[in-house]
Symmetry: D2
Subunit: 356 residues, 4 copies
Amino acid sequence: MVVVMKPEATPVETAAVINRAEAVGVATHPIYGKEHTVIALVGDLTKIDRDVFSAMAGVQKTVRIQEPYKLAARSTHANRTTIDVNGVIIGGSDVVVMAGPCSVESREQVLETAWAVKEAGATILRGGAFKPRTSPYSFQGMGEAGLKILAEAREQTGLPVITEVMTVETVDMVCEYADILQIGARNMQNYGLLHAVGKARKPVMLKRGISGEIKELLMCAEYILSGGNAQVMLCERGIRTYETSTRNTFDLNAVPVLHRMSHLPVVADPSHGTGDWELVGPMSKAAVAAGADALILEVHPNPEQAESDGAQSLKPENFAELMGQLRLIASAVGRSIATSPEPAPANGRAQDVMLV
Amino acid sequence: MVVVMKPEATPVETAAVINRAEAVGVATHPIYGKEHTVIALVGDLTKIDRDVFSAMAGVQKTVRIQEPYKLAARSTHANRTTIDVNGVIIGGSDVVVMAGPCSVESREQVLETAWAVKEAGATILRGGAFKPRTSPYSFQGMGEAGLKILAEAREQTGLPVITEVMTVETVDMVCEYADILQIGARNMQNYGLLHAVGKARKPVMLKRGISGEIKELLMCAEYILSGGNAQVMLCERGIRTYETSTRNTFDLNAVPVLHRMSHLPVVADPSHGTGDWELVGPMSKAAVAAGADALILEVHPNPEQAESDGAQSLKPENFAELMGQLRLIASAVGRSIATSPEPAPANGRAQDVMLV
Amino acid sequence: MVVVMKPEATPVETAAVINRAEAVGVATHPIYGKEHTVIALVGDLTKIDRDVFSAMAGVQKTVRIQEPYKLAARSTHANRTTIDVNGVIIGGSDVVVMAGPCSVESREQVLETAWAVKEAGATILRGGAFKPRTSPYSFQGMGEAGLKILAEAREQTGLPVITEVMTVETVDMVCEYADILQIGARNMQNYGLLHAVGKARKPVMLKRGISGEIKELLMCAEYILSGGNAQVMLCERGIRTYETSTRNTFDLNAVPVLHRMSHLPVVADPSHGTGDWELVGPMSKAAVAAGADALILEVHPNPEQAESDGAQSLKPENFAELMGQLRLIASAVGRSIATSPEPAPANGRAQDVMLV
Amino acid sequence: MVVVMKPEATPVETAAVINRAEAVGVATHPIYGKEHTVIALVGDLTKIDRDVFSAMAGVQKTVRIQEPYKLAARSTHANRTTIDVNGVIIGGSDVVVMAGPCSVESREQVLETAWAVKEAGATILRGGAFKPRTSPYSFQGMGEAGLKILAEAREQTGLPVITEVMTVETVDMVCEYADILQIGARNMQNYGLLHAVGKARKPVMLKRGISGEIKELLMCAEYILSGGNAQVMLCERGIRTYETSTRNTFDLNAVPVLHRMSHLPVVADPSHGTGDWELVGPMSKAAVAAGADALILEVHPNPEQAESDGAQSLKPENFAELMGQLRLIASAVGRSIATSPEPAPANGRAQDVMLV
């Protein structure tokens, strides 16, 4: 850290900063410029809050040199992290596509969609049983009944399941049914929840909050990693800016930035990122071109009837077409779209689902 | 709601929108413009998600006419809500000042601060026992031990206590000790928590998230109100913008905007809003001038030693000076700074506290 | 400046940075931390662009210690700047109120408004003859004819005139008629124009761009100051954020921040800042409470007929009422609202104006 | 347009709105909801400012249905616009790459770079002779001498030249030397300049301002188009958000959004968009995948010596490598990277340039 003193700071104030740092075993290197004195601090700064110096008399500002996360930082890990989800590898050379409905609405809807996305080439099934909704009057999700439907879809199709966990008290329940725990954007900084999934033995996909800085996302990953769970992937899903022609501003720059700053796999969510199904195609291709390790996409057999997020859901036929295009883009950047590690169960698509 | 069709929308697509709306008992008024057909929907739209129409073929956009919150809206309440906290009235003609440390760090620190802010004229004591911290390596708060210290400070000084509740499972515990439950900015959209405090029988101060829109803040208040708790106050505490010369952009405009949109009392938090104690004075005065019903301010006997937020904490002497200035501003807008409904307990400031 | 090397930077790369700095006579102080080497640069850095170091191999980032503006900085001026506009002092102990219509639309409209705001206590008349309009199909201003009307209004009422100059080639013309040159928000970084008004012998009010950082505003002031014009005042008029319930986010924090960073007077423009006349009252009071040296307010005799910005214009009667409230707030912060240095010309409000 | 009345609006206020609209020949369709009356306006609204209604008593808000630009709108043009720049087609099936230094610094630097980017496959040369710089103390560009160097580079290499024009008075001079006029981000809303290039007979590349909304960008294009110049291309170059890990937030979503809203070609500028050469590669590939019609990239033979923007400039060897990757991506989306319409002049790369 570097502490910049005000031009009018007194030698006594400068000395106080130096003493405060040295009191916790941090070495100090004062540099006397023409206008400012600057004090470089070298050593273990975890014992002292940066704010302590900001609050001292004569201090103009403090500048962090080293990022406060360690476990998530690329510099401390020689190799990129890969996460094995029932044989599907996230963060490796292949690009993984996760797809499915925003919300679990019924057994038929989920099974129909699961088969459709599997047939088009997705290798992980997404779907929400607990829904954070802006309005208390909106559909709030099916809860455990929804989780059971997802588990049945996995049994039938062989696709591992990713689903959101929203509260500490449901972490255990969701772990029973899910293969990946999703932490939603609104909960990026829900530290109690981060702590709880840090203790879980399931991979976690952590979504960037709509006003989350990239370094804050990494600090939140650090919460999970420091809890003992090393299977964390990071997800860009759109940030809030002044632009209103898209629901959010899908910040694709985060993909190469995160790859530079961290060893964790990076997932892109163009469905929430743009909020608009017509944009999902171009931005999915862009995400693969920019190096995303996985995509998570909303697909609904009948978006106009969806309980939530219909406007950003692809129809199965559009999704299948997009998968073909993604294979070409992946190949252009020297990767492939991941394929299922094992064939679907022999019995195939159930009869009752065909009727939907 | 108004549904705007694309210029190229077909009559069949327009008819589908009309049928969808009428199927749930909503009346439709199509208007045929030169380029666009526009369909006005009149009736109870709570039965159908706005997204349903956005997802329909031929629809360009939907425009909400009526805000989706009702209980929080000013139009549905003839009178402004006032909240009585042990005799201190928030939302009435007087401006209430809440003050105290960011975090509860020790019994001595809290008692010292409580007496200091009381003597300067504050009528509610603030202090955090559970702290949401960006870094997993930072001080996380004293928990229940901290709540007990706050309760002791209330007993000694007579000041009601406001403190943050962060998780559903600690709502009951916090209710035992606190007089006002604070929902922090990071939890503005933690719907499980909003639901839980909606069931509590304590006033709630709901903070705007750093990327929370004003209408989202009102929707979150609606969650609490619709749960049965009518004692909700709204708090502006700074939003995230591109400007970095202040920690956040304290959006004082929210004060008159919220007063126009809602009947709920509005609290301003210039300490978090600006993140800089030198700005707390001018922005506190501005907040009272703009019509805030209450201020919540961080005061610490020794900001340089604070476990958190030292840079934004006032020293007791600065706070006392500010209180004098606030009385003048309050008077200039035809209000007063609220005074304690009852004198402090006869025994006064305890001897052991004086020594700190 | 501080140059932070990457953890993996080689000694050769570090040496290259040191050599590059020393080549332009800047002293270097390398500090070898556990993970990073940091090089503090001391000396005259104006000879070398910060980007030069950012582009060098092995460099992670550069951190500026000293702000790149000097003439605008408070640290280099013992006293606050005051600006005398025909006897009206801006930046002194009194708060100046400038008022008038957004656009000059007709002689009658301007004279009517000028008399009205003068009678209510304004001491400077505002009005735009050149209008930057988002649409090429909107009213673009009256041009020189409008300037002549403003000059006539000054003659009649004695109020000095502030008006916007939009292009280099009209600077001389506007100087002929105006007492203060306004640089609008869209032109904050129009360097050619800043250079031109830097050569003018008239006071300049520089508005912050809607995405202007406070330090950028000061850099733009530096352009004018370094051109030889020391009579610069800074104006906050709202920034662009994600919040849409106000047209802009009026960033009142800029007032105390600018006072801390600069010696130049600070003007607040709540009319453009909020874009909503109902918010102008509370935010004007807040601006005076926060320490603004002047307000600039839009007043129109008939906002519903205004060619531009009707929604944010006060009616004369609302303006007069607000002036009374502002006097109370100014007094509460130890200031007064400035009064005219001399009485209005004896002939008073012209007959033909009364008829409008 | 739709005018939404306040719940408490009186019949007289509603009638006033209706009368105001009908007075300019606009048809009105009032709809009486349970809480709000809503008035749909149908007809030519260019005769009346939207603000007129916002300012009327009883009006809560106005909602625009039809966008206020016509010439730039996709709905009014059956075919996409293509622009022919000396045989290089922008907006057609091929993706055009423009490349060159940020600033013209010397004849050698420009010629060296021009040959290098041509050899790697670029078909248009970029370079700035007039530089808008944040600091008055920074390098401000070579002016006309720089334009002459660019013209010489065109002669030698056959590459058409794009360069920025910053002021009305230099439009003619820049037209003499340049093949495409660039309007920089800071001048997006410099209406005088837009008007001037609207009269020019050269293609214009209009950059989105760092706080420009997409619909504002289209309104600015409308200024140029309505002036008579139909050869306009739009350029995304990064917007200002709260995220600081990139210099700007390169908003790639703008590419498909602009293609949906407009018939004009779309250019992506990942160099300014990200401000970081390491991100230029991934984001260039992403831009082509998202459908950009052209890229504009900064290349400098020695970024560490660049007068400006060194941190975001590619070295020629990195650029050449990237061009290979871009060809693969273009092919994956069914396009090619444009090649030069004619071979380079027979004499080839001049001897003196080889020596640099």
